[in-house]
Structures are given as C-alpha cells and as structure tokens.
Amino acid sequence: MDTLKTIGQVLLLFGILYLFLVSIGLMGASFKMFGKGFATQLVETTTNPYVGLFVGILATTLVQSSSTTTSLVVGIVAAAGLTIPTAIPIIMGANIGTSVTNTLVSMGHITRPVEFRRALAGATVHDFFNLIAVVILFPLELFTGYLQHLASGAAGVFTGIGGMKLANPIKASVKPAVALVTDLLGDHPWLILLLALLMMYAALKFLVDLARGLVVSKAERFLHQYLFGAAGYAMLFGAILTVLVQSSSITTSLIIPLIGAGILTIEQIFPYTLGANVGTTVTAMLAALSTASVPAITIAFVHLIFNLSGILLVYPIAAIRRIPIRLAHGLATFTSKSRSLAIAYLIVVFYLLPLCVILIWR
C-alpha cells in the first residue's frame, strides 16, 4: 500500500513538474505576443543594476521562494524580455531574499530568549553569507562581468557537448501544452502571462510540498549521519536535499528548531546552508532547459556560478568563514536584549529597504 502511494506521489510530482515547465513556456509565449516594445520597456526598467538587485530581494521575500524569482527571470530572459547583464543583479537579489524564510521561522522561538538567540543566529548566518557574497561579487560583476563571461563559457561548453539534445526533448514535450493554452486564450498576452505566473507559483509550491513529504521523512537517518559529521558531507547533504525538495527555504528552515534547541551549532549548519544555496540553482536550470534557449541556460549558470563563487570566497579561509558566523552571533545577541529589534531587522532589510531603493532609483 505504501509503495503504491509513493508511486502515485512520484507520478504526481512529475505531473506538477511538467506544469511548471509549461508555465515557463507560456511566459515566453506571452512575451512574444507583447512584442519588442514591451521587452524594451521592461529592460529599461531594470537597467539600473541596483534596482535589479533590490527587485530580486523584494520579489523573493514576497513569494518566499528564490526558485520562483529565478525561474521567472529565466523565462523572461528566454523570451528576450531581459538581457543577461540586467538579469544578473536580480538573481543575486533572489539569493538574499530567500533567506527571509528561515529568519521568519526563527521568530517562532521568540518567547524563549536563549532559544531565540540561538535560532536567530542560525537563521541569519545565511543572510550574512548571502549579503557578503553580494557586497563583494556584485561590484566585481559590474566592473569585470566575470559571472557573465564564466556563465557564457559554461553555456557554450554545455551546448558544445550536446546539452541541447537534452533540452530539446523537454522543450518539445512542453510545446503542445503551451500551444493548446495559447490557442484557447487567443490573443490576450496579459491573460497568458497572468496564467503563467499563477501556474508557476502554484506548481512550485505544490512541487516543494510534495517533494518535502516524499523526501524529508526519509531524510532523518541522513540528517543525523551527515549534519553532525564533516563539513564536506554536511554541504553535500544540504545540496542534495535541496535538489530533491527544490527549495533552499525548506532545507534551511528545517534545521532552525535544532539550532534553537542547541542540538546543532552555527558552525555545524553553515556548510549545510551553503550546500542548500548551490542545490537551489537546479530549479532555474530545469526551467532553462525547458526553453532550450542559450541566454536562459546562461542565466541559470550565472545562478550556479554565483553561489559557487560565494562559497569559494568565504568558506576555505577560516578567518573569512568566521565573519558571517560572528555577525550572526552579534546580531542575535544584540536583538535578544530587545526582541522587537529582530522584527525590525526583518522588516527593514527584507522589505522596507528594497522597496525604498526601488522607488527612489527607478
């Protein structure tokens, strides 16, 4: 009976994944209908990289899913609605925005000060790592374009080794469903775009919920085995678990109660968090493959390379590795004296600041 249930859930998972890929296709179709003028207008809106960065943060904090933001960006890039340079800051912003979920989860411990201090520190180490990565890599990208160059190179290698042969069947399988929906809705690009956005949000939400049910319950033996062990294993475990549940928010939030209870330390969960950051890039990669578009695949590689760069920058040297950990401890200690400060941090960093920057600089 359990086996039949699992088979049913796996089939459902593939069905929802298909809907997600169709939503990306529909987005592309709607952009084509809007025409070149709309795309130009959209590109102009996000030409300012700072605005793009904060759009990425705000959009992700609002939907609490970096996969939604990055897949959206991939879909728009595939439809030529965004250029790669304008999309890169949004991807970086999505990385910061995604850490809002575990910070919100840590608020669940607010009634017990010591537990809250530990939980908040465990949650914000992810925030600080992503902030440090952006503070260093964002200007580096503006001045050198290293991410774009590396990602273009990776996309070139990918297509060179026949990666499109993998992408084309996915695109071909999605095409009839996209054609059917666009035929049904006719020449109404806004309607198709709205449907695509709703479908993408719902599909990702169901996909994550279903994958969580399928994977997390079975992950407990590995959690005990790898999270308390060597950092490399913890990182790999974080990456694999995130690939399976398609959400770094889920994997990083999952361990917050264990940090709050003092079972795990920030030092132990830090590599796991970094692994989750890498694992979450798989969703954008899937979305990009379904478009079989080189710029879309390039932007998916940007997401992956950005996260790998962040790890290489921060993790190998102990002195640098300690910076996000100390900042997280510092913030948690400071806000534990007045817990309303923690709520203020959450509202200002993830919502107010991005909103103000967007309104002022656009």
Partner: protein, 211 residues
C-alpha cells in the same frame, strides 16, 4: 505507548535501542557497585559505564528532537515517552553508582545478618528486574511490565520496613545505618525500573505512577 518496532521511524528506533543499551549498562553498574560495597572489589569500569549512560541520555534526546523536527506528526507520543523514561534510566545508573560510593564514605560494612541481610535479599530480587525491564520495553510486553511493577511494590514495602526498623531502633549501630541508606538506594533503583516499564502499560500522563 512505545509503539511497534516495524512502524517506528529510523531515529526513534535508534533512540529505543539506545535506551535498551543504557538499561543493560545500568544493570552492569548495579552488579559492579554491589560487589564493591559488599566485597570491597575494585573496578575502573564503573565510571566509564556511568559516563556511557549519561552520554546515552544525551543521544536519545538529540535523536528524538531531530526526529520531531523532521517528522512532527509521526511517533509523537513515543517520542515524548522516550524523553521521559531516558531520565529514569540515567537516574538508575546514578543510584547504582551511589551504592558503590558508600564504601568510600564509611568504614562500616553491610552486615550478613539482620538489616544487612534483608538488604542483600532485596538486591537479589532487583537483579532480574533489569532483564525484565529490557524485555518489557523492547517487546512492548504489558505482562512483563505489570510483573515488574508488582515486584517493585513488594520491594517498596520491604525497603520501607528496613528503613523504619533501622531508624526506629535506639540500639541501631553503624552497620544498621549503612543498611538503611542502602535500602533507600535499592528502593530508588527499583522505582526507576518500575517507572521505565510503566510507559508500556500506563497512559502518557501516568508514566512513573505505580498504583
């Protein structure tokens, strides 16, 4: 209350096995401690076994909270029960070790007659209760659990009687005083064994009750 083995999640099963191991180690501590008290035997295993029991308690708590974090809907009563009884097992180790420590605290020995002999009889009755406790919780066996709880009621009466006779007699000597203290420790060991198996037969809110 502790659930069937085949239905348990991995971490809860691991926690369960750890409690059985801790009980086995507490059994060994009890045996070694009694030899130290009555025969003056020396053993460096006692501290190590006690440390293992303390580490076991920590491990069980960690396993349970890890399980509840990932699967809060599965094995909830079992999880809470394990956290409750693991403390009884840890106390078992402590009380058993305390019996050995009496040897260093006093020149008096446990006599082989009178109150001392009555303590020896009680100790002999407690020894098989460890096996009964391990079997009771590993097999979720209500009969064994009920049997152990009945034995504890008997031991409670016997140890209370030793205490009353020891402190109520104006002629009591240091050996009697030793027997009184030993009887209180024996009573606690028996009580914690009873608490552990009470989780098999009692509802959650009545764990540790032996009415």
């Amino acid at each position: 209350m502790l659930g069937r083995k085949q239905n348990r999640s991995h971490l809860i099963d691991q926690a369960h096995k750890e409690i059985e191991t801790m009980l086995d180690k507490a059994h060994q501590v009890f045996g070694i401690a009694w030899q130290i008290l009555t025969e003056g035997a020396e053993s460096d295993r006692l501290s190590k076994l006690d440390q293992d029991i303390n580490s076991g308690e920590r491990l069980v708590r960690r396993l349970v909270i890890e399980h509840l974090t990932l699967n809060p809907d599965q094995d909830l009563p079992t999880s809470l029960t394990l956290v409750s009884i693991v403390h009884d097992v840890e106390r078992l180790g402590d009380y058993a070790k305390s019996i050995a420590e009496l040897r260093d605290m006093s020149d008096a020995t446990l006599s082989e007659d009178g109150l001392g002999q009555r303590c020896r009889d009680v100790q002999a009755k407690i020894v098989p209760m460890f096996r009964l406790a391990i079997d009771g919780i590993s097999e979720d066996d209500e009969e064994k659990a009920a049997d152990l709880m009945a034995r504890h009621r008997e031991i409670k009466a016997k140890t209370d009687s030793i205490t009353a006779d020891g402190i109520g007699n104006e002629q009591s000597n240091r050996a009697d005083l030793m027997a009184v203290v030993v009887s209180r420790y024996l009573r606690r060991v028996s009580a914690h064994l009873s608490n552990v198996v009470s989780s098999v037969v009692n509802p959650f809110d009545l764990i540790s009750r032996n009415d």
